[in-house]
Amino acid sequence: MAAAGPSVFLLMVNGQVESAQFPEYDDLYCKYCFVYGQDWAPTAGLEEGISQITSKSQDARRALVWNFPIDVTFKSTNPYGWPQIVLSVYGPDMFGNDVVRGYGAVHVPFSPGRHKKTIPMFVPESVSKLQKFTSWFMGRRPEYTDPKVVAQGEGREVTRVRSQGFVTLLFNVVTKDMRKLGYDTGPPDTQGVSGPSTPQGLSR
């Protein structure tokens, strides 16, 4: 066991950026990327993506559906720095400039299985009213230098943000060797550990 034991655990995430609720905006697209710690490395799949532009549905839900697939596999030696998905939504403003409509981030769920997450989205605010006006007028809204800022806690105290809308994500998470390496994330299952009861009983 010791020799053959795994040295990394794998985390496979697939799912999709399903839809969004931005009551005020239309024709949005979204980008996603993953932010993860130093001990993590993507082994397969795309860790960045940009979706198509979607328009609001005509029904009462006014949903913006992307159904943009996510499929990425990470390997890691350390749960520290567990991957987060960072979403940023863009869309045209009144003058047709692409402006950011929301940033949001969420950790990839820890436990294997199907998870549906709804992330509230927010955008940084202008520092002043005048600035707000000019940025609106010029179509250059304040943006984060890097969308990955939203996945980190450092330095956020200097910003002011406004909430706008939600994005719904679906994750299907599969992990491998987590339990073998001593990390227990999911609900108790008996598969990982060889149960002492039944096999012994059978052998006798």
Binding site: S7, W40, A41, P124, M138, T145, G155
Partner: protein
């Protein structure tokens, strides 16, 4: 068969339908009215039978009959025929029997009513009959030839039969519905039939005959009406056929003929079934409930009246609205299907639930997903959290926080003094108080007496009888008892005890008696005085009442005299006295004896002492003679007084004393016992008889009301009603408050509030109630009176005496009294008893004795205060005192803490420890953490140790981590202070390198910390608010030409360095042109005059393009031009070169592309910033040599060898390109001072006098454009976020200044503050300060300031250049002070400039520091004479130069950060020489390495020549030595073709030297007989600044 049959039926029905339609019209005519009526009641049974009989005569009969049964609806009349045997004929006849009657009757009716219509029927009959003929034929053919079509045939049969069936059925109906006509009575129809029909010859029973007849009649009739029937019957049954034949119709004969004719043609009639048949079929299958209202009685059980719950007042919901008809249908159906009536309610209606539909519409919340709905509507259960006061929470957290209840019963309030008291009230209160006291005393005495008595009885068995006297006090009796006891004890006969013990007890008794007597006397005296005071007060009161002529209080004192027997009393009295006297005597005797004893002893002592004294005196006398001074020491204290013998006591005296005392304190014998009785029987004077002041007082009293607030733990929990103050100053509340408590009861207070009128409420007093003992539960709690008093001062303007103010009873105002408001609250506090009889008492109080004390003990804070908790000693003391249960788990932490604290009694730490319990939280011990390689690695990484900062994927297991990983780190740690000389050739550099390393580390660490401080601009990108200029610019842009004639380079999109890999980034070098490239000199002119003028002249000639041939000499056999330069760019060992141009001012205009590789493939910003590689742009001259050995071949072949001669280079660090994104400009080519074989072309002005002009054209220049493709985002902009020790005001000013400058010239750099090497922000001018240059340099040219200045500048330039970004990877610009700079011997432009500036300042020149943006070059900013292009340095002109310090902010006289004086130590010359040798050796080895395929020969002679020559160069700073040098060289190396040059560099490390040599490409000569020469010279300057000269040359021997 069955399915088939069913099918048949279905088809039949279809036919019926068809038929029905077709026949409708006809039927209307033919069928009589009666028949139509009957149709409604059609029953399916009859026809069914018919069908089955005819179509499937044998096997189908029974099932069909069964089936018909199911359809029966009360057709009892059909029973008969069904029970008949299944013989078709029989049944038929049977049926005919029944139908006969009906038929008869029908006919009768018909004949009667519509004779005409019957006649009319006759007319259409023949036509259909004719029509029918073919079908008959067909049928017959079928019958004979096509058995396969039986089905169809049967259908047809069914058809016809079905039709007839209707008829029969109708007739049957008639029979049923109407009573049959008597058989004997012939109807008109019958009569008609009789005459028109042929009768069957069939032998039938006589009875049946007419029936048969009638049947045939009907048949006939039907034939007439519906013609199809008869042929059917024929086809089916022979019997029928027979019958039909018997019927005697000619048609049949005809049929037979037809049959013969059309044997094989099947012509079929449209299959048709009449509506009647269909309806009948339906009737069989379908049940159609009636829509008629069902009468109620049918729906209810019999004899039950409908009952309506609404009328009985029960709620019935609104029923759903259902149409009446539907209801009826349902009811009918239910009645038929389920006869149980269980669907019907008591009211006879169908049971129904109330209408579930809401009367108004509502919309469910619109949510996108179901999940969302769930999530949003989900209620979250949160357990209610009880608020627990922080300090008062119940200790013993393990106990369930039960509900504890305290019942507070507030009965009332009595004022013992109130401001509204009148004087009388005061007295009354006093009286009452005294009386209460009296009563209390009595009560107590009695009780005590009883207990005492009990005790005495139990203890002293020999206590005879109680000596209860009439006295109310117990003590005499006790005394008596004791006396008796003594007497008993004295009687030895009665006491079995030993004498000794008896004696002892007697003595005890005696002493007890004494004590008791004293007590008794005191008590009796008290009683008497109390009584006296009562009487006195009462008297006073009486007099007061008399005086004021009204009464305020109903108090009345009655003194009851209790008569006593004079004689007995006297006797008792006397006896008492006698006893006492005797006792006293006894005592005195004892005392006397004791005293005598003492006296004797004292006497003896005294005598002994006397004796001794005498002896002493004798001795002393002798001693005095010997020692006179000792004599004066008699001990005065030792001298005992001569004891006086005690006097015996006198009985008379004692008696006297006893009697006196008795008279004083005790009731005289015979005097009646006075018993005071206080009653409220007196009358209060009514208001109208009182004086005004008194009335006022009473009114004031009436206005007052009182209430009490109950506060628990200083929180108000409830309050009583407000009750008016009674005239007797009593308030009755009588309220019980139940306090449910969760917290420890700490205090229970009643606050007495008084309200005067409507004016306001004042807090009179607070009454602290004791928290009851745990034994006190409600119901058993005694009423207690708790006194209170207030210190308020009240003066009233009426009779009320006020409070806190003096008043007097006397008229003259003497004998003043000050009374405070006071009173008593009568209340009872007890623990409540729960429902199950368990007292609701907090648990801890149950296990401790006293609640209050328990509370005190349990709560450490309340007992020792908060500060005590931190004092371990106090805490321990408290713990010991309070006897905490150490086994109680809730005390465990405390006990542990105390045990730890007290274990070392003397050990009290003086220090304060943070996180003293940290150890508990440690996840593993530190040692274990360190032992685990993984943890260690993780730790180091998080600390940001450079080796591990970017370590990725730290392995899971320790075993996977190589020990090697740490080795470098550990080594570095070890070597931190050890100087390694291996890499560095001279020790000083090693030290410096080390130092630099350390500085770098510390700065990086500081920077890492600073990096975590974010500004808004770091996180959020937002464009600035545009100002006019920008707006204007953007407007201009709109009008800009789309394709300008002279396009400018536009900014490209920047790429963040994240997805890059090797090869993605390219370095683009656009070599445009060069100026003033040195040109070749004809080397053949060996003996050319070295005079400058001549050279210049010749060069001038050579320069002119018109005379290129002038330079052509025999030495250039191939007729080359002056120079054929090309540019070779080498970067990261990749080399690219341009094509070869011609002439000294070549124009290449070529773009070279060099790949860029980041170190370790890491394209992160930090990594890119630390790229130390330089771009070398070397300019070579391409020289062709004819290598042809044989001149004879010259005509046929060309053999040339290309040689390239290095002319110069430009070195641009990659970091500069990276940070500036592009480099566009003309740069001076670094041309060695001596370039053998080449000379500078002077093209501009020959005149050498103009220094200024000459300086412009001095040297060669190259125009370059260098950039990176794609453009990389340079590292984060430099941000000074470091601490500063500057004045805050100054900092603000700098920021303002910078902002202003940036506003005007956003592209220009404006520096006001810089970061010093320790990471602190420093104002820039602090760097500028006159500093002394090395003395050596000053001494060189003592009289030539110009030369000195140049020398100093040269010295500064010799300090190696090292950009900050390289040394402090991508952090920021750090400025080191000049001494640091010199210590480090490395720095970038700022340091150089600053140092130079300081030197110049020191030399007395006016110097400024000009900041620019360029590739590292040191500007010789000696503004007096070297003016950098186009810049006006006149700082006095405010228009051109903006001064930081203005009038508003005067120069504060900032002290410099620079040291006072620079100390230069002389460089070790020996070390320099050593270094020189080593470098030479290394370089030689390198050159040999670079030529792996060739033999490298070293020309020693040349080398030594060069070596001699180098110091000369140094001395002349590389100027103006060329010609002499050349001459010398030529002299010495006459027959060698020589190309070589000296390189001059400041020394920092060996590596740059090697690079420089490599870049010249000297080694690239492929000539077979090439020889090399290499010489190194190091000239030491002070402070270890070394000037390195390397002379490299290649020699080719001329033929």
């Amino acid at each position: 068969m069955k399915p088939k049959e069913e099918k048949v039926k279905i088809i039949t029905e279809e036919f019926i339908e068809d038929r029905e339609d077709a026949d409708k019209g006809r039927q209307k005519k033919t069928v009589k009215v009666a028949r139509q009526k009957g149709k409604k009641q059609l029953s399916a049974a009859g026809p069914k039978e018919m069908v089955s009989e005819k179509s499937h005569p044998d096997d189908q009969q029974e099932p069909v009959q069964e089936g018909s049964d199911t359809h029966l609806l009360g057709m009892t009349s059909r029973r008969g025929p069904r029970s008949l045997p299944p013989i078709p004929s029989a049944s038929r006849t049977g049926f005919a029997e029944f139908s006969m009657r009906e038929r008869m009757r029908e006919k009768l009716q018909a004949a009667r009513s519509k004779a005409e219509s019957a006649l009319l029927q006759e007319i259409p009959t023949p036509r259909p009959r004719r029509l029918r003929r073919p079908s008959e034929k067909e049928l017959e053919t079928e019958f004979g030839t096509e058995p396969g079509r039986e089905v169809q045939r049967t259908q047809q049969e069914d058809d016809s039969q079905g039709f007839s069936r209707v008829k029969f059925h109708d007739s049957a109906r008639k029979i049923k519905s109407k009573p049959p006509v008597p058989p004997g009575f012939p109807s008109a129809e019958e009569a008609y039939n009789f005459f028109t029909f042929n009768f069957d010859p069939e032998p039938e029973e006589s009875e049946e005959k007419p029936k048969a007849k009638s049947r045939h009649g009907t048949n006939q009739e039907e034939e007439e009406g519906e013609e199809e029937e008869p042929p059917m019957q024929e086809g089916v049954n022979k019997m029928d056929e027979e019958e039909l034949l018997d019927g005697g119709d000619t048609e049949h004969l005809l049929l037979g003929l037809d049959h013969a004719a059309e044997d094989f043609v099947a012509v079929r009639p449209a299959e048709y079934e009449s509506v009647h048949i269909r309806l009948q079929m339906e009737k069989e299958l379908l049940f159609i409930p009636s829509t008629l209202t069902v009468p109620t009685y049918k729906k209810l059980p019999e004899n039950v009246q409908p009952r309506y719950p609404e009328d009985e007042g029960l709620y019935i919901g609104a029923r759903l609205e259902v149409p009446r008809t539907n209801q009826n249908i349902m009811e009918n159906r239910l009645l038929v299907q389920e006869p149980g009536r269980r669907w019907f309610g008591d009211d006879g209606r169908i049971l129904a639930l109330p209408n579930p539909i809401k009367p108004f519409p509502s919309r469910p919340p619109m949510l996108t997903q179901e999940q969302d709905i769930k999530a949003e509507l989900e209620t979250l259960y949160k357990k209610a959290v009880k608020y627990i006061h922080r300090s008062q929470h119940l200790i013993g957290s393990g106990d369930p926080p039960g509900h504890f209840q305290l019942d507070i019963d507030i009965l009332g309030l009595i004022f013992t003094h109130h401001p509204c008291f009148s004087r009388e009230h005061v007295l009354a209160a006093k009286l009452a108080q005294l009386y209460d006291q009296y009563l209390a005393r009595r009560q107590r005495h009695k009780a005590q007496f009883l207990t005492d008595k009990k005790q005495q009885l139990s203890v002293k068995i020999h206590f005879s009888e109680s000596m209860e006297t009439a006295g109310c006090l117990h003590i005499p009796s006790q005394l008596q008892a004791l006396r008796n006891a003594v007497q008993m004890g004295l009687n030895p006969a009665k006491t079995p005890k030993s004498l000794e013990t008896t004696q002892k007890t007697i003595n005890e008794y005696k002493s007890e008696i004494r004590q008791t007597r004293k007590l008794r006397d005191a008590e009796q005296e008290k009683d008497r005085t109390l009584l006296k005071t009562i009487i006195k007060v009462w008297k006073e009161m009486k007099s007061l009442r008399e005086f004021q002529r009204f009464t305020n209080t109903p108090l009345k004192l009655v003194l009851r005299k209790e008569k006593v027997d004079q004689k007995a009393d006297e006797e008792a009295y006397e006896a008492e006295i006698q006893a006492e006297i005797s006792e006293l005597l006894e005592e005195h005797m004892e005392e006397y004896e004791q005293k005598i004893e003492e006296y004797r002893r004292a006497q003896q002592q005294w005598k002994a002492w006397k004796k001794a004294q005498r002896a002493k005196k004798k001795k002393n006398k002798q001693a005095v003679e010997e020692h006179p001074d000792e004599m004066k020491e008699p001990d005065p204290g030792e001298e005992p007084v001569k004891p006086v013998p005690p006097e015996p006591t006198d009985r008379a005296v004692i008696e006297q004393q006893v009697r006196e005392r008795a008279a004083q304190s005790r009731r005289r014998p015979g005097e009646p016992t006075l018993v005071p009785e206080l009653s409220l029987a007196g009358n209060v004077t009514p208001n109208d008889q009182c004086p005004r002041v008194e009335v006022l007082r009473r009114e004031d009293v009436k206005r007052r009301s009182l209430y009490l607030k109950v506060t628990f733990n200083n929180k108000e929990v409830s309050r009583t009603d407000s009750r008016p103050l009674g005239a007797d100053f009593r308030v009755h509340f009588g309220q019980i408050f139940n306090l449910k408590i969760f917290n420890w009861p700490e205090s229970l207070t009643l606050q007495v509030y008084e309200t005067v009128g409507h004016s306001g409420t004042t807090l009179l007093a607070e009454v602290f109630l004791p928290i009851p003992e745990t034994t006190v539960v409600s119901g058993r709690a005694p009423t207690e009176e708790v006194e209170f008093s207030s210190n308020q001062h009240v003066t009233l303007d009426h009779e009320g005496v006020g409070s806190g103010v003096p008043f007097s009873f006397e008229a003259d105002g003497s004998n003043q009294l000050i009374l405070m408001t006071s009173g008593k609250v009568s209340n009872s506090v007890a623990w409540a008893i729960g429902e199950n009889g368990i007292p609701l008492i907090p648990p801890l109080s149950q296990q401790n004795i006293g609640f209050r004390s328990a509370l005190k003990r349990a709560d450490a804070i309340s007992s020792i205060g908060t500060s005590g908790l931190t004092d371990m000693k106090k805490l321990a003391k408290w713990a010991a005192e309070s006897k905490l249960d150490p086994n109680d788990p809730s005390n465990a932490p405390l006990m542990q803490l105390i045990s730890v604290a007290t274990s070392g009694e003397s050990y009290i730490p003086d220090f304060f420890r943070l996180e003293q319990l940290q150890q508990e939280f440690n996840f593993v011990s530190d040692e274990e953490l360190n032992r685990s390689k993984r943890f260690r690695l993780l730790g180091l990484r998080s600390q940001g140790v450079p080796e591990f900062r970017n370590y990725k994927q730290i392995p899971m297991y320790d075993r996977e981590i190589m020990e090697k990983v740490f080795q470098d780190y550990e080594k570095r740690l070890r070597d931190r202070n050890v100087i390694e000389t291996k890499d560095h050739i001279d020790t000083h550099r090693a030290i410096v390198a080390k130092y630099l390393q350390q500085v770098r580390e510390s700065v990086i660490n500081r920077f890492l910390i600073a990096k975590h401080h974010f500004l808004l601009s770091d996180l959020v990108v937002e464009e600035e608010v545009p100002n006019i200029s920008i707006l204007g610019l953007s407007l201009f842009k709109l009008a800009e030409q789309k394709r300008p004639l002279r396009p400018r380079r536009k900014g490209r999109k920047k790429v963040t360095a994240q997805n890059l890999s090797d090869g993605d980034i390219k370095l683009l070098v656009n070599v445009i042109r060069a100026y003033d490239i040195p040109v070749r000199k004809p080397t053949t002119s060996k003996f050319q005059q070295p005079s400058r003028s001549s050279r210049t002249f010749s060069e001038k000639h050579a320069a002119s393009p018109t005379t290129p041939s002038a330079t052509h000499s025999a030495d250039y056999p191939l007729g080359q031009v002056l120079v054929r330069p090309f540019v070779e760019v080498s970067f990261q060992r990749t080399i690219c070169h341009t094509t070869t141009a011609e002439g000294p001012n070549p124009s290449w205009n070529e773009e070279l592309e060099l790949p860029f590789r980041a170190p370790n493939g890491d394209y992160s910003t930090t990594s890119l910033q630390s790229v130390k590689d330089d771009v070398f742009i070397n300019i070579f001259d391409e020289v062709l040599y004819d290598v042809l050995e044989d001149d004879r071949e010259r005509g046929s072949g060309i053999h040339t060898r290309i040689e390239r001669h290095w002319l110069g280079c430009v070195k641009i660090p990659f970091s500069t390109i990276y940070f500036q994104a592009r480099i566009d400009g003309t740069f001076k080519i670094n041309i060695p001072p001596v370039l053998l074989g080449y000379s500078k072309e002077r093209s501009v002005i020959i005149e050498r006098g103009f220094d200024a002009v000459r300086s412009l054209s001095e040297g060669s220049y190259i125009t370059l454009f260098i950039t990176l493709e794609p453009q990389l985002v340079p590292g984060e902009s430099v941000r000074e976020k470091f601490d500063s020790q500057e004045d805050e005001k100054l900092l603000q000013a700098t920021e303002k200044f910078q902002a202003e400058c940036a506003l005007k010239f956003p592209n220009r750099q404006c520096l006001t503050r810089v970061v010093d090497i320790s990471g602190k922000t420093v104002f820039i001018t602090r760097y500028l300060k006159p500093l002394n240059p090395p003395q050596e340099l000053l001494n060189t040219h003592p009289n030539n300031p110009q030369a000195t200045a140049e020398l100093v500048a040269r010295y500064v330039s010799l300090i190696p250049f090292l950009p900050d970004t390289v040394s402090f990877a991508g952090i920021c610009d750090l400025w080191s002070t000049s001494d640091q700079f010199l210590d480090l011997l490395a720095g970038d432009e700022e340091e150089h400039a600053v140092l130079l500036c300081n030197y110049f300042l020191s030399l007395g020149k006016k110097a400024w520091l000009v900041m620019g943006n360029a590739i590292p070059e040191i500007w010789f900013n000696i503004q007096q004479y070297d003016s950098p292009l186009r810049m006006n340095f006149d700082v006095t002109k405010p228009k051109l130069w903006k001064s930081f310090f203005s009038r508003r902010l005067p120069y504060p006289g900032l002290s410099s950060v620079q040291p006072e004086e620079l100390i230069y130590q002389r460089t070790d010359k020996v070390a320099a020489a050593e270094l020189q040798d080593r470098i030479e050796k290394i370089l030689k080895e390198k050159i040999m390495d670079w030529r792996p395929r060739h033999l490298t020969r070293w020309n020693r002679y040349c080398t030594s020549t060069l070596r001699h020559f180098l110091p000369l160069l140094e001395r002349n700073h590389g100027e103006d030595v060329e010609d002499d040098h050349r001459a010398e060289l030529l002299k010495q190396l006459g027959d060698y073709r020589f190309s070589g040059f000296p390189l001059h560099m400041p020394y920092s490390e060996v590596k740059p030297l090697i690079e420089a040599v490599y870049s010249t490409g000297v080694h690239n000569t492929d000539a077979p007989n090439v020889e090399f020469a290499l010489a190194v010279y190091i000239h030491p300057y002070p402070k270890n600044v070394l000037s390195v000269w390397i002379y490299v040359a290649s020699l080719i021997r001329n033929r």
